[in-house]
């Protein structure tokens, strides 16, 4: 397993980072070839959390398989559920009531904020700053409270189901989200004061982990990783689903292509998400939160693909149906998998210490990559 240790014939040093390493945010294993302190090659080894979710889904019904996807990219669990529900609804030809659509987008954006907050805290911790971690979790707990009231869970929600959402929102949901928006707006400025303007932080991020727009496209990067290189790829804008076409928000683009650009994209996305929440929270229409569907869902023979924008990028669900009550084949296009494949290209020629800054701004969630 770790036989690739020592030095090569050229005198290059080979070191293993992970699977147990705090900067890999989970169980990623990188074999790094170094010349002195300069990276010659980064080779990711995956599978330390490969739970064969795609194989499992082949024997789970269309209602059951959604709960497994919450555990895939657990920081975007609502958005994963959303993608699967949309894909099943596409196959069934079901129209979701407007109230459910509003609720889905609201919880999606709350999830995005929670995910970006965790990324912000963890990334700052990777670079040696411990305090941001506590600041980020302080606000994240508020979102968890809101989620807990409505969905009954803090992390893996399983709230969005085919046909709508599992239950109506809690009566206090709108009020608490409004309170959170008011609180969070001031906190984003605090985050910027604390970290973004810090000169040490900027020096570690600027010019590190360069990724050009052409390379980002070639490697299939999506989400903030690609948008930091100036590639327009926000699924919410390009291929709007649910009510996103009617919401005013802008796709955040930065053209630097370095770690700092990717950082800025996520920080600005926090503000955009708050803006989306503000537009929706007073306008949640009355009506049903769920449309009646059959107890056992059967998709017609055919293929269905649905993509959504998670906090990490474009997440796709590809269902191949043979007409039964379980999918014949299901493929999850996970954003992290493609983003990770670009890591070697981004880190090559840089210093080992910068690898952490590069990896931090990719925002990798390993179970999402391994599936």
């Amino acid at each position: 397993m770790f036989e690739e240790l020592g030095t090569t014939e050229d005198g290059d040093l080979i070191i293993n980072i992970g699977p147990q390493h705090p900067a890999t945010h989970g169980v990623l294993h990188l074999v790094v070839t170094l010349q002195g302190e300069t990276i010659k090659k980064v080779e990711p080894h995956l599978g330390y959390i490969h739970r064969s979710i795609e194989k499992m889904c082949e024997s789970l019904s269309y209602r059951q398989f959604i709960y497994v996807t919450s555990r895939m990219d657990y920081l975007s669990s609502h958005i994963n559920n959303h993608a699967c529900a949309l894909c099943v609804e596409k196959g069934l030809g079901v129209e979701v009531p407007p109230r459910a659509q509003y609720i889905r987008v609201l919880v999606d954006e709350l999830t995005r904020i929670a995910s970006h907050e965790l990324w912000w805290g963890a990334m700052a911790m990777d670079l040696g700053a411990f305090t941001p971690f506590f600041h980020a979790f302080r606000e994240r707990e508020n979102i968890n409270d809101i989620m807990e009231e409505t969905c009954g869970a803090r992390l893996t929600m399983n709230y969005i189901v085919p046909g709508g959402v599992m239950a109506d929102i809690h009566p206090r949901f709108c009020e608490r989200v409004k309170n959170f928006i008011a609180l969070f707006k001031s906190k984003i400025d605090e985050y910027d004061d604390l970290v973004t303007g810090n000169i040490i932080f900027q020096n570690r991020m600027k010019g590190v982990g360069m990724l050009s727009a052409a390379d980002a496209i070639s490697y299939g990067c999506t989400g903030p990783t690609a948008r930091g290189s100036g590639v327009s790829c926000d699924v919410r804008k390009l291929f709007p689903y649910e009510i996103y076409s009617g919401i005013r928000f802008s796709e955040v683009l930065e053209c630097g292509g370095d770690s700092f650009s990717r950082y800025l994209v996520r920080m600005r996305e926090l503000r955009e998400s708050v803006q989306i929440l503000e537009q929706l929270i007073d306008n949640v229409p009355a009506g049903d939160y769920q449309v009646k569907t059959k107890a056992v869902l059967k998709l017609p023979k055919g293929e269905f693909y649905q993509r959504v924008e998670t906090a990490r990028g474009e997440f796709g669900v590809y269902i191949v149906s043979e007409g039964g009550s379980t999918p014949y084949r299901i493929k999850f296009r996970s954003p992290g998998f493609a983003n990770l494949s670009a890591l070697h290209h981004m880190a090559k020629g840089g210093k080992l210490g910068d690898l952490v800054a590069t990896m931090g701004t990719l925002d990798l969630v390993i179970p999402d990559i391994d599936r």
Partner: protein, 178 residues
């Protein structure tokens, strides 16, 4: 004038005041266990979702530093307790064993969440998941949940402290005769 040092309520033993100092009457084992239980350094070992709840316990609101767990270590050689937060798959199993072997004695294991207990939601129809971390290393405390609430992890940590303080082995606790 010096202030009187306060004696923690769970201190195992008596302190007799004498002129010029004092005498502690206790058993060495109990003193050692008491000291051990109040300074457990966890290993930051997280494979999946439960790791996020573990981070939540480490951070602002829940703050396991209150119970002596504040120094989360990234290397097993400095850690006392390993919290298995997440699914263990066949490829990870030898790594987990190696991490456990690298920890210095005495060492303790907490299995956090359904995956670490039994494979959890990934029990059926999967070729790669280990059906419970106790197939690989011995576990002291199990926490149910998917993922468990932070309070549940805190409860598990306190339960582990009680176990260490009691000084009993798993078999002794099970049968009830020391």
């Amino acid at each position: 004038m010096t202030t009187e040092p306060s004696i923690p309520p769970d201190f195992p033993g008596q302190i007799k005041e004498t002129a010029g100092g004092g005498i502690v009457l206790s058993k060495l084992d109990e003193l050692v266990n008491w000291a051990r239980s109040n300074s457990l350094w966890p290993l930051t070992f997280a494979t999946s979702c439960c790791g996020i709840e573990m981070m939540a316990v480490a951070s602002s609101r829940y703050d396991f530093a209150r119970f002596g767990f504040e120094v989360a270590r990234a290397t097993p050689r400095q850690a006392d307790v390993i919290i298995i937060a997440g699914t263990i798959v066949n490829k990870m199993a030898p790594v987990l064993k190696r991490l456990y072997d690298q920890m210095a004695d005495p060492k303790y294991v907490i299995a956090m969440g359904a995956c670490a207990i039994s494979g959890g939601p990934f029990f059926y129809n999967t070729y790669s998941v280990v059906k419970g971390a106790d197939h690989i290393i011995p576990v002291d405390v199990y926490i149910p949940g998917c993922p468990p609430r932070p309070e549940a992890l805190l409860h598990a940590l306190i339960t582990l402290q009680d176990k260490i303080k009691s000084g009993l082995t798993r078999e002794q606790l099970k049968t009830g005769n020391p």
